[in-house]
Subunit: 353 residues, 2 copies
Amino acid sequence: MEQVLSNNLVISIDAMGGDNSPRVVIEGLAIAAQKNADARFLLYGDEQQVKALLKNYPTLSKVCEVRHASEVVHNEDKPSAVIRNRNTSMFMAINAVKQGEAQAVVSAGNTGALMAISKLTLKTIQKIHRPAIVTIMPHRTGKYVMLDLGANTECNSLNLSEFALMGNIFAKHALGISRPRVALLNIGAEEMKGKEEIHEAAKIIRKAKLDIDFIGYIEPHEIPEGKADVIVTDGFTGNIALKSIEGTAKLVVRLMKDAVKKSFIAKFGLPFMFGVGMNIKKTMDPRLYNGAMLVGLNGLTVKSHGGTDALGYSVAVGNAINLVRQQFVPSIKEELETVDLDSLSEEILYDSY
Amino acid sequence: MEQVLSNNLVISIDAMGGDNSPRVVIEGLAIAAQKNADARFLLYGDEQQVKALLKNYPTLSKVCEVRHASEVVHNEDKPSAVIRNRNTSMFMAINAVKQGEAQAVVSAGNTGALMAISKLTLKTIQKIHRPAIVTIMPHRTGKYVMLDLGANTECNSLNLSEFALMGNIFAKHALGISRPRVALLNIGAEEMKGKEEIHEAAKIIRKAKLDIDFIGYIEPHEIPEGKADVIVTDGFTGNIALKSIEGTAKLVVRLMKDAVKKSFIAKFGLPFMFGVGMNIKKTMDPRLYNGAMLVGLNGLTVKSHGGTDALGYSVAVGNAINLVRQQFVPSIKEELETVDLDSLSEEILYDSY
């Protein structure tokens, strides 16, 4: 079965998730399909709507199979209210991964519901206590990954150590870095700075002698300099850092636009600056970093931003395809077989008393 | 005594703190003195060195009194090792505020030691459990304040509520906003998102019917839009957010410079863009936001960045002068007289069970 799957790259799609679905979903898939001729898509959603849209994309249509889902998870739905509804496009798309019909699922729908249904359906990989949300971000000269970004508001030292392990494997596959530098996010470089669980995680990672290039603590302002490839933190802190970064990047670009608008002279300089603008855009465009991955489960769930456009959606699908090609899920399962952090964590905690 | 103090604006200065002290300190004071003719400075440090530097600034010299301090707190000193050494320039400068000789102290030295000695010497204002570090930051159309930025790694709901109170009063004085909008930093707008202590703090603030314009939760990416004037958070999260913002602003500017350097055409546009660059610089220049204030004590401690230059140092001193002029410490003591969050907090916590 595994052999068949790896030769048949199949991504299941929640066609109804997101602000302008299923239109943006189909437009995004068209872009992704063009770049990935070997990918096939299982689309779950309103059959009539989806098929009508697909008519405009004959090439895409050839690699799509549409399956009717009678219900939709809405953004305002509480995860607990929809988690056991097997008729939603979201549930059906995730379930396709569980059934082995697809190797990854992409949805732009309700984040909480997507995480909850994914956890319940795909289950955590043995030895991993909590899955984490990871995303790919730009630094000055390349890219890095950060996790967790919100799956777990509170994390203990064992959770953080597991995120370090998973992030390391993720970065190898997603960024193609053979030996990623892994760091714990903290508010100082000194051993005593920050929180107890961070100090303990550092001890666990060091003592476990994992096959990881663990470089210790990193502070947020060092991230853009490219000092680490994997940034490990709890879901609350990661979410704060991510949104601070996104908000500030937007602010600076906005301030520039405001300043150019106000300046008569600057307008004459604009044509010369076109290339520079494009360059910055190419590095910082949030659409190019769309797609947060839920890792640590027996299958891969990719969450697209709900308000993204076709290009952004295609990037999320591209991430899914890339990680399936790189055999991310089989690899993480295999690599984790050899590690037992649980007993180590108990030992470390015992040592601290 | 209070009357005398308010007519005599005196700032005590740790002349030996910071990377290039006492040179940068004296150069910075020269700028600050030019802008504030009524301010006087009590300088603590190596008398010979300081007096030699002051010779170059005759106008500044007239408003300075130099007092010899035989020892210096170094950056690598542990706070616990220096906290009771009464011979350091840092201790003596802080002690001048306690003795009523100065109304605020400025130091560019070891942050941990500065906070520890300030707490021990100046003591927390009655009814406040923990002091907080607050700073002034730019958003798209104005400024906001954020606290705590690192004085307290872990905070409970009562601490956060007190920060909201103090931040409100601080913003009135530092930003001149008559009714600041106060928000709790969180990872979502919904009541259930984020951490328990944040939810409880929101309950306490609402139930206390404080004279505060409390607008609920704010997410980091909303800050640059200017949605709130006071951002309240624990010291760990605040430090992460602050450093993420600083790092990203620097990254975007760096990317632009890199792109211009690489582009032959862009160089021709540069002269037109000079005004825009200056405009951004004026808004985002970290030196213009130098000076973190420790609030909640019987006196005001201002921490300058250790690596700043004369302009940056002068901004930190300017903050101290401005807050003394605005009677910040007497005001916060007076306003807090009428509030009793302690009993309210117990009630709320009791309610939650």
